[in-house]
């Protein structure tokens, strides 16, 4: 199974990390290593809002790391560095929605882990990244198992930031799995380890997850307040995609409190399409359709069916989701979509996004 090598490496920690042989250090190698680490850092910053750019940055880092690792009598730490670079590339490809490329890069990262010094920090990081890849591949259960291994690894290493980040991830995964109560508990644990000024992204991700869970649990007012506060905290210099997701959550909360979110939803749906977030745009279309269906605006429903065409051509839409969306399009074209049906499809799209074992209308029998 993918990632098994990483898991074993973390569990056994057979080889202690090799110390850098300072005496044999070449100044040229040191400069390349420094440049490679800078690029990896930049890739981490870019990946959430500029995934395509992050892929290019990771490739540059990888070239430098591979040159170092390919040198005659290369030290095992260069294989570690190459493993980090492959891991960064796998993550960037995943966010850019090229899952095949991400899996290939992750397999190469595992190979470097075996060839390298057995660095437990690298093993922990790769477990963490493999969990993200499992989730994006629709294997949420595997992702949850893997993230527990990563949490254990960071605990063993005493790496606070890694521990806090993986706890936030676990909270997000649990929320995706529909276990909102446990998600809130895990987010609570994460806040025991988060340092806001150092873990800005994780704090915002945790806040978004918490607001989502509160909304799902029926606490709409505090959920809306949290989203507003998160938007203020992100500020104008913030990540555009994160802002968009927070605004979308806010409009959904407001709609459940009885507001009409049509104009806002249209803007969000268009912005999601522009950002290439097709799956999210499909779900936003469902929110919009619900808005229209509640007011019996049949011509708008029919127009929406036409507007949804770009969604169907996306590789992000898996087969089961496509089947549900085609059924929806037929109903919208006929102007006969009912709110419970729209809500059923919306819930299915959300639930099956990270768990491909789900089948449409399973719940309904």
């Amino acid at each position: 199974m993918a990632g098994e090598v990483i898991r074993r490496a973390h569990l056994s920690l057979a080889k202690p990390p090799a110390a850098a042989t300072a005496a044999g250090d070449d100044p040229g190698d040191r400069a390349r290593e420094r440049r490679c680490r800078e690029l990896l850092e930049r890739c981490f910053e870019e990946v959430s809002h500029h995934p395509a750019r992050a892929v290019l940055t990771a490739r540059k880092a990888l070239r430098l790391a591979r040159d170092l690792a390919a040198e005659e009598a290369a030290e095992p730490r260069w294989a570690d560095l190459e493993g980090q670079a492959w891991g960064a590339l796998a993550n960037a490809e995943r966010v850019a929605a090229d899952l095949d490329a991400a899996r290939e890069a992750m397999a190469r990262a595992e190979g470097c882990l075996v060839a390298g010094s057995g660095d437990p920090a690298l093993a922990a990081r790769l477990l963490d990244l493999q969990a993200s890849l499992d989730r994006s591949s629709g294997r949420l259960e595997d992702a949850l198992g893997r993230i527990d291994d990563a949490i254990a690894a960071y605990l063993r290493l005493g790496q606070r930031a890694g521990l806090a980040r993986t706890l936030v991830k676990k909270g997000v995964y649990l929320a995706h799995a529909g276990d909102t109560e446990r998600a809130v508990e895990v987010i609570h644990q994460a806040f025991e380890h988060l340092v806001p000024r150092e873990d800005r992204r994780s704090v915002l991700a945790a806040t978004q997850c918490l607001a989502f869970c509160l909304h799902r649990m029926g606490y709409d007012i505090p959920a809306a307040q949290l989203v507003d506060q998160a938007l203020v905290a992100v500020g104008e210099s913030g990540d555009a995609v994160l802002v968009l997701r927070l605004e979308w959550l806010r409009v959904r909360i407001r709609m459940s409190l009885g507001h009409d979110g049509e104009a806002e939803l249209r803007r969000i749906r268009d912005a999601l399409l522009e950002e290439g977030l097709i799956y999210d745009a499909a779900i936003a279309c469902l929110d919009l359709a619900t808005c229209y269906a509640r007011r019996r605006r049949l011509p708008d429903l029919q127009k929406l069916a036409l507007e949804m065409f770009p969604v169907f051509t996306s590789r992000e839409i898996h087969r089961e989701a496509l089947a549900a969306l085609l059924l929806l399009r037929d109903q919208l074209s006929g102007g006969r979509a009912e709110v419970p049906f729209l809500e059923e499809i919306r819930a299915f799209l959300e639930d099956s996004r990270y768990d491909r074992r789900r089948r449409f209308r399973d719940a309904a029998g």
């Binding site: 709409d220 210099s237 009885g258």
Partner: protein, 132 residues
């Protein structure tokens, strides 16, 4: 008191979301001196349906509630703020209510919210400093 504290502690047994919404709605109608029957007529609702809502019986019909609030000119947020103040419990998925009022999770969530808010304030102040 925050919205998530178990308001009405000491109050006998958990109260359902439907009951608290019904009670809050009854208070609102009394304040506005509006009769449920008149509202039913004006909104073209089946006879007795609003009485059911006010009595907290059956499942909560959000569409009816939304129409009633719109007619009364009451923002849903302010209505649900009152529901919270009454210690609105209720089933998961019900609007703004959350788990039962005596759920131990409420204290935990309230504490967590304070923590998250202060983390966000810290991040926000960092952002505004770097924007200068």
């Amino acid at each position: 008191m925050t919205a998530l504290e178990p308001a009405g502690a000491g109050h006998a047994g958990p109260t359902s979301m439907e009951e608290v919404v019904g009670r809050t709605l009854a208070e609102l109608l009394a304040e506005r001196r509006v009769k449920a029957m008149d509202l039913e007529r004006r909104l073209d609702l089946p006879g007795g349906s609003l009485e059911e809502l006010v009595a907290g019986r059956g499942s909560l019909d959000l569409e009816v509630l939304r129409r009633v609030l719109t007619l009364l000119g009451v923002a849903p947020e302010s209505f649900f703020a009152r529901v919270f103040a009454q210690g609105g419990g209720g089933a998961a998925g019900s609007p703004a209510g959350g788990p039962a009022a005596d759920s131990p999770g409420r204290h935990q969530v309230a504490g967590l919210l304070d923590r998250v808010r202060s983390a966000l304030l810290e991040i926000g102040s960092e952002v505004s400093r770097s924007d200068r």
